[in-house]
Amino acid sequence: MENLIALLVGAPLLGAAVLLCGGRRLDKAGHWLGTLLAAVSFGIGVALFADMLGRGAEDRTLYQHLFSWVSVGSFQADFAFRLDQLSMTFVLLISGVGTLIHVYSIGYMEHDERRRRFFGYLNLFVAAMLLLVLADNYLLLYFGWEGVGLASYLLIGFWQHKPSAATAAKKAFLVNRVGDIGLSIAIMLMFTTFGTFAFGPVLANADKASEGTLTAIGLMLLLAACGKSAQVPLQSWLGDAMEGPTPVSALIHAATMVTAGVYLIVRSGAIFNAAPDAQLVVTVVGAVTLLFGAIVGCAKDDIKKALAGSTMSQIGYMVLAAGLGPVGYVFAIMHLVTHGFFKAGLFLGAGSVMHGMNDEVDMRKYGGLRRYMPVTFVTFGLGYLAIIGFPGLSGFFSKDKIIEAAFAKGGTEGWILGGAALLGAGITAFYMTRVMLLTFFGEKRWQPAPDADQVPSAEPAAEHRAGRMPHPHESPKSMTIPMIVLAFGSVFAGAFFGLGDRFLNWLEPVTGYEHGNPPVGALTVTLSTMVVLAVGVAIAWSMYGRKPVPVVAPRGSFLTRAARRDLFQDDFNHVVLVRGGEHLTRSLVYVDHSLVDGVVNGTAASVGGLSGRLRKLQNGYARSYAVSMFGGTVVLIAATLLMRAV
């Protein structure tokens, strides 16, 4: 059975290779091939899952060793896979949601001439992501980690002719590279500490190393996670990443890739467990990000950017949970999975809305769409209820547990973290209600599509529709079916996982579990969450539901303006990093030219000047040369005589 693991990665990888190298003749069938191979991967995943359920909890972990990858001295990295409950969860999520989004993209990308390539990139992403979660050592994980980064780069910049898309892609890759420094240093630290970086030996022996080393490793892993999962302070790329086609935002920048950081922290749980300081930092990062993302999400008028802020915030929840240790690991992953369903659903819904609205992304120009797009409305609405944690839906089960666990941390920390999580839940309710109201309710605020070249993030098909009023319509079946499937997940996954502790029992052997006791009692937490949620919805309704919404955004308060600008994070980056970097490189170019090269050229110039003067002796007259020869002879004779005299 374990020999099938490689096929999980292999199938989409084959798809990527065929689609990207195949050339134009595959244009007709390429998307079918890509979807099929993603589905094959999902099928194998299901088969392995069934097999895994058939075995006892202790021997559910499978290994597959392919070959020795890098082997120098004691540095041994194998190309080996490890399939345990944790990776199984991810495999099903990735290949399942991945397949759905492949199907969705068939319709969504129908008019794009480069659809074949799009599917190639999607397959590449699925392969890399599966490699990431299946790797048996950190170096192979790094391989997958960068692989998804590459896929993300290619897909964000898929519409490369738009400078904004190309810039966003570059930015995403660069910010991730900063995070990669963390991952590489963490691996190096593991190597110098344990002499290996395979999961088994490192995690089994984690407690033997000194706490300082473990804290360092933990912080470096956190840096990596921050990059990939868009956590403060490396969150700035995620909003821009919405330049990519919407299916990409759904798959990569909502459901799967951005959660890789959570996977990394949970996977390295043994290290974090032994490094409380690192854990504390993780929780702080999670709490800050969940508020940050939520605040940003409140102010954005671009539907995808609002959802991106939400994603950031939800991942903040997961990171917070992961930082709580064994109390929270399971819930982090659970929220990750349910979030995968409802956030993918929300993004696909947003894509469907844009599809019907001339690729308009400004929610202020939507309104009243529920009658024109019933399926989208319903699926989006279910996703909305799930994300705000409406009782009984997915989000309720997973998010509630996280808030509970945060309070259970105990002490002042527990109150602060729990309070932040609670506040975040309220803000979530506010901004998601805002999205909902702006998009589907209220009066129509539709605007004619601007000229193609002025569209800020227009997709290529926009060129044909310039200047016309939108005619909202329901999307084709290939798009609505995935949305419906995901809506099912959004509604029922939480209850399925949460009731009877199914998910807990499934993951516990890998991640471990401790029950945390919140100081106020679980029911109190749940009830207060409900209250906060109701308040958030009410405020949103009072602001956007009761009165008409202006098409052009009002100036707003300072906080609103700050949130629109991502709380000035980009401005800070621009001033400090970009400008500073430009000045640095420019001055270095100058230094290289005038100083480093100048010293050498100066020497050369002085030698040149001297020889230029000496050259005048070479006047071409034989007699002049004869004089020098004769003079030389005289000097020689004089020298000889002098030497003899001495």
Partner: protein, 99 residues
């Protein structure tokens, strides 16, 4: 009189010849100055021969004469062909060695 005076004379003639090479521009005169230097050397060799009491010096002088003859033949031929092409016998005109 000490026969070493022959050597002083030879040195003097050699120096005069060398100075001639340096200051004259006519290639023919230049060659004559070279001949003068060679002759000065010959005189010195002959004087040395007398000093050492063997004939080697004279033989060297003899060879010098032969080589000088060959040199003059070739040198004058060069001057003639040079004159044919450049219409001048001045060594300064042949300054193509200059850049």
């Amino acid at each position: 009189m000490n026969p070493v005076n022959y050597l002083y004379l030879a040195a003097l003639l050699f120096t005069i010849g060398a100075a001639g090479v340096l200051i004259r521009r006519n290639a023919i005169v230049l060659f004559m100055c070279v001949e003068l230097m060679l002759n000065a050397c010959n005189l010195a060799f002959v004087a040395f021969s007398r000093m050492h009491g063997n004939l080697d010096g004279q033989i060297i002088a003899f060879f010098t004469m032969v080589v000088a003859a060959a040199e003059v033949v070739v040198g004058l031929a060069i001057i003639v062909s040079l004159f044919r092409t450049r219409h001048s016998a001045s060594v300064d005109d042949a300054s193509l060695m200059k850049l």
